[in-house]
Symmetry: C2
Subunit: 414 residues, 2 copies
DNA sequence: CTCTTTTATTTCGAGGCTCGAAAAAAATAG
DNA sequence: CTATTTTTTTCGAGCCTCGAAATAAAAGAG
């Protein structure tokens, strides 16, 4: 907050953050490299690394091949200590839970995934399933693994702006499930829950920082349509919820029936169920099914590519809806690079022409001709990667930066 | 930025900011009050106020009626020193420039306004007019007035995200006019240019902080339709431009012709020219005029209220367009309180029912039934007020907070 | 009219922090 | 083995905030 009071040790906190995120980004860095990366003075870097080492957060990597046989004292490579902590990511989707345990360097330690009938489960039953999976992951941990220090969930659904609660989701009948609080209490660590699209955006920013840096949108085209947005280098969240509900922007007033109960949403034209509904020739008011078989969707796309029938038209209609949404979005935030993610990204060839057609026609100040759109048909690795980065960055910037835990190893003797 | 290095004196900078903004908000505050407001320790507040006084930025107000005859040592009231600096606001609209000189406490020192044919002027001619007005304001300054230290412009048009340039505006044929740089160079002070809607939002936040605090939207309904947005207590700007071009979100694909050259924008249905075009029965593709006489618009509204003809339908159509835009906007940022500003706010009674009708129908997580909409038919005082606050807050947080100018009086001997 | 009580503000020392300069450490080059 | 080069640490100056104690300035009590 802007109206927050500053204390002398906040300075050290911030500069520790800089050093840690530099190490996170580059993996292997000497003190001199950190000086170059951060702009801090050698004295300060020395002080910071000394305390980070004494706290076990980073370690000196002997045999680090840092620009070897040069003249002068050789640099000592520093690395994040993989065993100072571990984190768990949980991906929650329709009828499906996937959890992974990572060390502090981001290497997989253990993994588990299960099919569970989320639609028929109470929140409590869902928690029991998740608990069992996490317990087993934690049991599986080899000795030497650091204590669990953060849990990050990515869910299909709307979460609150603070990452504490899942407000609503199509995958379960319950609402307002406080995943953050419950997991945090049970495992004695910080836990956050976020929209899967925001996790995808986080992952893209991490895997391709050249392209997805300050401003970009990641749009998930699947059973629903969601968006993760970065503006000015920061994740965009709404006033109260995770928001950025791209799929529920209004495309056609009084138009097709959406899964959310309203009419005319983009999702009601561009999601998998909407496309299949259009192809089937059903009425636009036919309530959508709760699940779509991926193979059915793929088959429809196949027919659209080869045949010359109605299938192609349905995809073009979807392209128009997405294009219209982007045009409105770009009016609000300026044009930004777009990543299309999920099954819908695999059929982008069927939508691209219409999609770009709707957007183009620049308005005098914001040209969109050279709009970058990239496709990532498989969303799951990105969601997990995003959760991982969320957890690790939380440790880097919130837990380890303060430097007020004398011995993090003991904080939560799991 | 998050990746910025912190130094020990940044701490003092930030805490000076806190003290100054507390004084700005409350006007008259003792050191003890500042302690209560900011949470800083008495020692720190003492140190900060001492240096602020020695720099002439604040002064002790003798005869300050602070909770008088209580027991104990009386509190000494502190106030911003009105004469430490002055600022100029410039409101630039179609055929109209209005400039005001204020002191550091925000009191009017001198004022001037002129009609100038902006549509037929080159950028250079426009600058000459503005220069002449500002020169005369500065001449008019009574002795004792502090040196000019900031200029803030509010313009009808699109500006860049940094407040340096007006990228495009309907009021002048030129584009990319670097108001910020040119004014800054000529007067030797910082100068910024912002979209008028953002200034309106800034003003509302200042005049009614109870209602417009963290999240709200100010929508200007006039010849064009713009928006100023606050999210999480901070002004929203786009990736590159001031953005938030609410009026150019897409309402009806391939719909009515907008002034921006594209089709189907909200503005093409809800601006004054659009409403009059609908009433006239003209084709939706008729190019809009560059200016609308306010009395013509008012007369149409009058007929819509009394008669039962086509006029009412045109306003209802406008209400639908705005409602559709808000529904999409709320999908992206969650529902927030809305302020409608300008001539269109004066005819809200003709649009309200349709507008709310389109928005309602909650989506399961974000209810909009109790959506707050307030109307402010006169936009001009708000624009000026917003510029004023922009200037003063710039001084408070950017210029005076660092405390590195030993004698601000001498910085720019005007 | 003086002394006590109460409240506001300042002073002072402890403990942070960063930084520049100098010192120490650890290699290569000759 | 010594000189050179580069990296890292050490040390002192100069910021900062804060708590505790000291000082200042009023009202109330006797």
């Amino acid at each position: 907050m802007i109206d927050e009071i500053a204390r002398p040790d906040d300075v050290r906190r911030q500069n520790r953050r800089l050093a840690l995120t530099a190490l996170r980004r580059h993996g292997l860095l000497s003190r001199t490299d950190i000086v170059a990366q951060t702009g801090l003075s050698p004295s300060t870097v020395s002080a910071i690394t000394t305390s980070l080492i004494s706290e076990g957060i980073i370690i000196e990597a002997r045999e680090g091949d840092l620009g070897s046989n040069r003249r002068g004292r050789p640099q000592i490579a520093l690395v994040l200590n993989p065993d100072v902590a571990s984190v768990v990511t949980v991906e929650l989707a329709l009828n499906f839970v996937h959890a992974v345990l990572y060390d502090y360097k981001g290497q997989v330690v253990a993994e588990i995934s299960e099919r569970v009938p989320t639609l028929e489960m109470s929140a409590d039953a869902l928690f029991q399933s998740i608990f069992a999976m996490l317990d087993s992951l934690i049991d599986k941990r080899p000795s030497g693994t650091g204590p669990l220090m953060h849990i990050s969930m990515g869910v299909q659904g709307v979460t609150d702006a603070t990452g504490a609660t899942m407000l609503w989701s199509p995958i379960t009948p319950d609402t307002n499930i406080a995943f953050g609080k419950v997991l945090s209490r049970r495992y004695g660590v910080d836990a956050s829950v976020a929209n899967d699209c925001n996790m995808i955006a986080e992952a893209l920013r991490w895997t391709d920082p050249e392209h997805y840096r300050e401003n970009f949108a990641a749009i998930l085209l699947s059973h629903g349509i969601g968006m993760g947005l970065y503006l000015k280098g920061k994740p965009f969240v709404g006033a109260h919820s995770s928001a950025a509900e791209f799929g529920h922007m209004l495309h056609i007033p009084k138009g097709a029936l959406c899964r959310c109960g309203r009419r005319g949403c983009i999702e009601a034209y561009a999601s998998d169920y909407a496309i299949l509904r259009t192809i089937s020739g059903e009425n636009e008011s036919t309530p959508p099914p709760q699940d779509i078989d991926p193979s059915t969707f793929a088959a429809a796309a196949g027919r659209a590519r080869t045949g010359n029938g109605d299938e192609g038209a349905a995809f073009r209609k979807a392209g128009q809806a997405i294009g219209a949404g982007l045009r409105s979005l770009f009016s609000l935030i300026d044009p930004v690079p777009v990543a299309l993610v999920g099954p819908g990204a695999g059929v982008f060839d069927l939508m691209e022409e219409e999609l770009r057609g709707v957007i183009s026609g620049n308005s005098g100040w914001g040209a969109t001709q050279d709009l970058s759109i990239r496709c990532y048909p498989d969303e799951h690795p990105l969601i997990v990667q995003g959760c991982l980065m969320t957890s690790l960055l939380h440790l880097d910037t919130q837990i380890f930066a303060p430097g007020d835990l004398k011995d993090p190893q003991l904080k939560h003797a799991l």
